[in-house]
Structure formats: structure tokens, C-alpha cells
């Protein structure tokens, strides 16, 4: 472990704002993409079920 304390870790030698913004926004984008795909999938399945039911 490189860090001595939690506050030292969060401060990132004074660059905390830049480092944490980078990591957090990257994480949020990836989580958002997964959630958006989840919703798109649910909508696509609902649509397909409707079509199969109507034609069949």
C-alpha cells in the first residue's frame, strides 16, 4: 500500500479534483451505458413480443 492515510489518498497530492473527476466520470459513463442498454433491451423485447403475438 502506497498511502499513509485516507485523507492523503483523497487529496492525491493536491491533484484530487482532477484525478477523482477523471475516475468518477469514467465510471459514471460506463454505468450509465449499461443502464441505458438495459432499458433499450427491455423496450426491444416488449416490442418484439408484441409483433410476434400480433402476427402469430
Amino acid at each position: 500500500m502506497y498511502w499513509g492515510s485516507l485523507s492523503e489518498f483523497l487529496e492525491m497530492g493536491g491533484y484530487g479534483l482532477y484525478v477523482w473527476t477523471s475516475f468518477i466520470i469514467t465510471g459514471l459513463c460506463m454505468v450509465w451505458e449499461i443502464l441505458a442498454l438495459w432499458r433499450r433491451r427491455a423496450a426491444a423485447i416488449a416490442e418484439s413480443r408484441g409483433i410476434v403475438r400480433d402476427i402469430g
Binding site: I25, T26, E33, R40, V52
Partner: protein
């Protein structure tokens, strides 16, 4: 095993579904270990201090932005050459993830540029060509949505993706061809890496994790695209999509 049968979207659908959990799990593990090494184990950089830790998301995102563009262009070429529906669907599935990583590469680059260069943005060759890449992804996606006829939309966005691939070597070599503020490559195929082994390990693990994440997300989007575009075909073959199979 006859792989060519999987070029039919409805045959590919269940195969993709079986692969997604594996890629997703490997991605989560690689990213967890990569973050642990990058944030907790790796020592500080003697020149840039702790700001250098942005490298653990910036470089993987930037590599994926270029790599995914090339993969997207290859699928577009296959689609244009063989007139294969699934290839165009893959092109369509890759573009949003590629665009997201391009955006993240630019954003984390700005976060790194401000403390080290004193500027969020400079019109340097590396940054400018990467920004153009973002516009190219946007172009490929917008061209598709702006054309109603599916086949014409596929071909137009495919040609757009294919032509734009010339920008990839420009981005990659920009730090050699021009005198840029952006630092040169830390890792290349011809020379020993210019960084400590532990830092390199963290960065490569994050890259591997982002790659596996991309595979999971792109296959998942490809499945959505198949459902959206092939729903009429489902009538004759509902068994390939378990979620739809029990409707009738």
C-alpha cells in the same frame, strides 16, 4: 463447428447472449485489480506527482477509442463487401461505445492537461485529431439515423466509417509527426516501455478490462439492434430469442 451460420443475426443472438456474462465478469475483475494497482499500489511519478494517475483511465480510454474505430470500420468493410446484415449491425453497435471512450479520452485529457500544462485544451495535433474522431463517430451515428431506408443507412454510415479510418494513424503518429504539447508514447511496439513495471501492469490491466467491457456492452447492444431490426423474422423463428419464445 460451422461458424458461418452465426452470420445470420438470429443465430448470432443466443451465442452473443452466452458470451456477455463471461466478458462482463472478466472486465469487472480486470478493472477492480487495475484500479487497486493504479490507485493504491503504484508509487507517485517523480515529474508529474499524483496527477499522473489519470493515466490509468486516460490511456485505456484513448486506446479503446482508436481500436473500436478500426474494428467498426472493418465490420463496415465486410458489410459493404459481402452485403451482410450482421456486419452492419455490429458497426451500429460499436459506434456509441467508441464515441463514449473518445469523449472520456478527451475529458480525462483535459483533467490531466490543466494541472500539468496549465490549460484544459490546446489545439495540438494529438488533441485535435482525437476531437475529429469524436465528430467521426457522431457522423457515423447521425448518418444512420437521418436515412429512413435501412439498407441505404447501412451503406452510407458504413462508407463514412470506412473513409474516416485514415484519421487513426494520424492520431497515433501525431506525437511523432508534429511537435506536440502532448507527451510521446509511453508504450510502443518497438521500444521498451518508458514507465515502471507496476504502473505499466496497472495500465494494461485497465486496458484489458475496458476491452472486455466493450465486448460485453457491444454484444449486448448488437442483441438490441437484432431485436429492433429483425423482429419480423422472429415470427418464423421465435425459439432463438428465449424472451420472445413463449409468447405464442
Amino acid at each position: 463447428m460451422n461458424w458461418s451460420k452465426y452470420s445470420a443475426p438470429l443465430a448470432f443472438y443466443p451465442l452473443a447472449g452466452r458470451m456477455i456474462p463471461w466478458f462482463g465478469t472478466v472486465a469487472a475483475l480486470a478493472i477492480a485489480v487495475g484500479l487497486y494497482i493504479g490507485l493504491l499500489v503504484a508509487p507517485t511519478d517523480f515529474q508529474q506527482g499524483e496527477a499522473y494517475r489519470i493515466i490509468f483511465v486516460h490511456v485505456p480510454a484513448a486506446w479503446m477509442s482508436m481500436f473500436l474505430y478500426v474494428v467498426m470500420a472493418v465490420w463496415a468493410a465486410v458489410g459493404l463487401g459481402l452485403n451482410a446484415r450482421l456486419s452492419f449491425m455490429m458497426t451500429q453497435a460499436i459506434a456509441p461505445t467508441g464515441a463514449m471512450f473518445t469523449f472520456l479520452a478527451l475529458l480525462t485529457g483535459a483533467m490531466w492537461g490543466k494541472p500539468t500544462w496549465g490549460a484544459w485544451w490546446v489545439w495540438d495535433a494529438r488533441l485535435t485529431s482525437e476531437l475529429i474522431l469524436l465528430f467521426q463517430y457522431a457522423g457515423v451515428m447521425l448518418l444512420r439515423t437521418s436515412i429512413d431506408d435501412q439498407r441505404r443507412a447501412d451503406r452510407a454510415s458504413g462508407v463514412c466509417a470506412l473513409v474516416g479510418v485514415v484519421n487513426i494513424p494520424i492520431i497515433y503518429f501525431s506525437v511523432q509527426w508534429w511537435n506536440t504539447l502532448h507527451q510521446g508514447a509511453s508504450v510502443s511496439m518497438t521500444a521498451a516501455p518508458k514507465m515502471a513495471t507496476i504502473m505499466l501492469t496497472g495500465m494494461l490491466l485497465m486496458t484489458f478490462g475496458f476491452w472486455m467491457y466493450s465486448l460485453a456492452v457491444i454484444l449486448s447492444r448488437a442483441r438490441c439492434v437484432i431485436l429492433e431490426r429483425e423482429s419480423l423474422q422472429l415470427w418464423s423463428k421465435p425459439s432463438s430469442v428465449p424472451e420472445v419464445a413463449g409468447v405464442r
